[in-house]
Symmetry: C2
Subunit: 353 residues, 2 copies
């Protein structure tokens, strides 16, 4: 398919101070769009000036949550622009699509489209330290009908947001609230998909955690209410005296691409990493015995994010004296070096645009 | 607040054959809109010509499922138009809002707004047997920002869709598939809210049930995987030799207004109705002992909908010989008589516009 390009008559002023960018607030000059209908499949791929979209009030995506999204970044180093494992994002997009009954996209075509868009917008990729271009592909159901049924038409978009460093004052440990009241997702549900409904379910918990001075929540499973799942927008790892452990992909958590990359990096270094069911009590116990050395989250936004404190069931657990641990720091450095292509990464991870 | 009115320059042609209306496909000439922002609260209520809305691609509602909706109907009888317990819908809207971190609406003002809209559109309320005007209030988060956080701005809309009879060929028993693979919602999640994510989670199950010749699914709870919850868009009741039972409001099912009304009607008639935890095995057992007399679903769309067959775990259970039972028929007649105001209902149920 040819990608149609519509030139913008007026380009925006770029934000000079990249430290002030924040996250997901500013958008570039162009966006990618593609339609789906039953007769033509995915069609009319186009790069057009960034702007509002028109939608019918009865569009199914506005009512029945038939929406999915992805999140990844473009990194600039020495004038060159890189994507990090973007093929994994389009693979996961199709997994989300499958769960939400949205027709699959052609993953190779999506890569081509993304590269073309990034190429046009390469000046928008920030080049100050730890700033990057956040990329948000997403799909919404557009059939104008109120029956609860998969839509017969969709809109796919990619929008781009230059974003500042996640940690304005450098890597810093976060305080995490272990959520024992609300549940994000459960096996048999849509927890493995990057679908709006999972995030909607998280808002109230997030707010309450913030009110108590915590940065994000750590979800516990909805069935036994005792196994650790993931953090708001990160997967979670525990460094113990006997290797590193992380919750297995159990059918309710998101399969993070950072998670996968960290596991692969650790294994390549010959370290012991085990994916398994982890009870929150096991973590509390490890801590009591002095065997919980570090805790960190992994995700596209924060890369590797050390946890300095866990609050669970009335108890505050300070980890590694609230300081960044060696393993966390090492993995953060390693992964960001690869993402910014300061160092050669494993085959296929760095995609130059 | 004054409701602004913008007149349409051209009214639509109405659909003559009301049997052909279907559900949620056609929309009337006008819609109600209202905005929310942190400074002004809910503001600028307006009734304007029905048409597309403009939305920013980064609007939170398109990404993080921060959307809720309601569903109710207006009924015409002898030229007069009635709403059925609409106050309950706005009460439930606020319950959904609370769970999804959406600011509450003024329930009385919403009633006033709805009445004004229906008054303008009264000609659109179908008057053929069992056809009605379906009313869809909904709210979407509009803040143009990609952080996962409650939005600081919202759009509330009410759109109206003239809809045909649910049963084109008269009340008929439906075949229901008991879902033992997928889960709709779980305690601690958003199952009690009328939020998009719950319906997104149901699509795949619904499709698979249809492929097997079933009309809708009966959800089983996500924790123990054995307690009956509700049907796709209905609550469920079982008529036994020892009274009528229905799942209790357990924190994961929707509190249906039809459910509530049926319980109240039955109690007023002196019948035994018990809200409790009901294991699917209990139902299978009652059936084997010949003690399961009828099963029916309740919801705004279908009113009271008899179940003729349940499929569970490889077993087909035919209920009441696949025929409409006495209790189901009686409740259907009773409730529709009240909704269409052919009969006087309990205080406050019938709201004339
Ligand atoms: C719920 C959730 N878990 C985990 C992650 C981490 O995934 P990734 O490493 O692919 O960014 C994310 C995404 O950002 C997420 O939203
Ligand atoms: C999941 C679900 N359960 C039950 C119902 C029935 O609720 P009500 O009787 O208020 O229409 C609905 C709504 O239509 C629903 O969507």
């Amino acid at each position: 398919m040819d990608i149609r390009f519509e030139k913008s008559l007026k380009l925006k002023e770029k934000i000079k101070d990249e430290n002030k960018l924040g996250f997901g607030t500013y958008f570039t000059d162009y966006m990618f769009l593609m339609d789906y209908d039953e007769k033509n499949g995915w069609n009319d791929p186009r790069i057009v000036p960034y702007g509002n979209i028109e939608i019918q009030p009865s569009a199914m995506g506005l009512h029945y949550g038939q929406t999915i999204f992805e999140g990844l970044k473009a990194y600039k180093n020495d004038g060159k622009v890189y994507l990090f494992r973007a093929d994994e994002n389009f693979k996961r997009m199709n997994e989300s699509n499958d769960r939400l009954c949205i027709p699959p996209v052609d993953e190779e075509f999506m890569m081509e489209a993304l590269k073309k868009l990034i190429d046009i917008e390469r000046d928008w990729v920030p080049d100050s330290k730890e700033a990057s271009l956040y990329i948000r592909p997403f799909i919404i159901a557009t059939e104008p009908k109120l029956g609860v049924h998969p839509s017969d038409s969709y809109l796919l978009m990619i929008i781009l947001s230059p974003s500042g460093p996640y940690y304005k004052d450098g890597l810093a440990p976060m305080k995490i609230y272990v959520e024992d009241k609300y549940v994000r997702a459960v096996k048999g549900g849509i927890g493995t998909a990057k679908a709006g409904g999972n995030y909607a379910a998280s808002l109230k918990s997030q707010i309450e955690a913030e009110e108590n001075g915590y940065f994000q929540v750590l979800w516990i499973d909805g069935v036994d209410r005792k196994y650790v799942e993931e953090v708001g927008s990160m997967n979670i790892f525990f460094v113990t005296d006997d290797g590193i452990i992380t919750p297995e992909l159990n059918g309710s958590i998101l399969s993070g691409i950072t998670r996968k990359s960290i596991i692969e990096l650790l294994k390549a270094e010959g370290q012991k990493v085990v994916e398994k069911k982890i009870a929150i009590d096991e973590i509390m116990d490890l801590h009591k015995k002095g065997k919980l050395l570090e805790v960190f989250g992994t995700g596209t936004a924060a890369v590797v994010s050390p946890v300095g404190e866990l609050f669970y069931n009335g108890e505050k657990v300070v980890i590694n004296n609230g300081e960044i641990g060696k393993v966390s720091q090492h993995l953060y450095d390693e992964l960001t070096d690869i993402q910014w292509a300061r160092k050669k990464g494993p085959e296929g991870w760095q995609i130059e645009v």
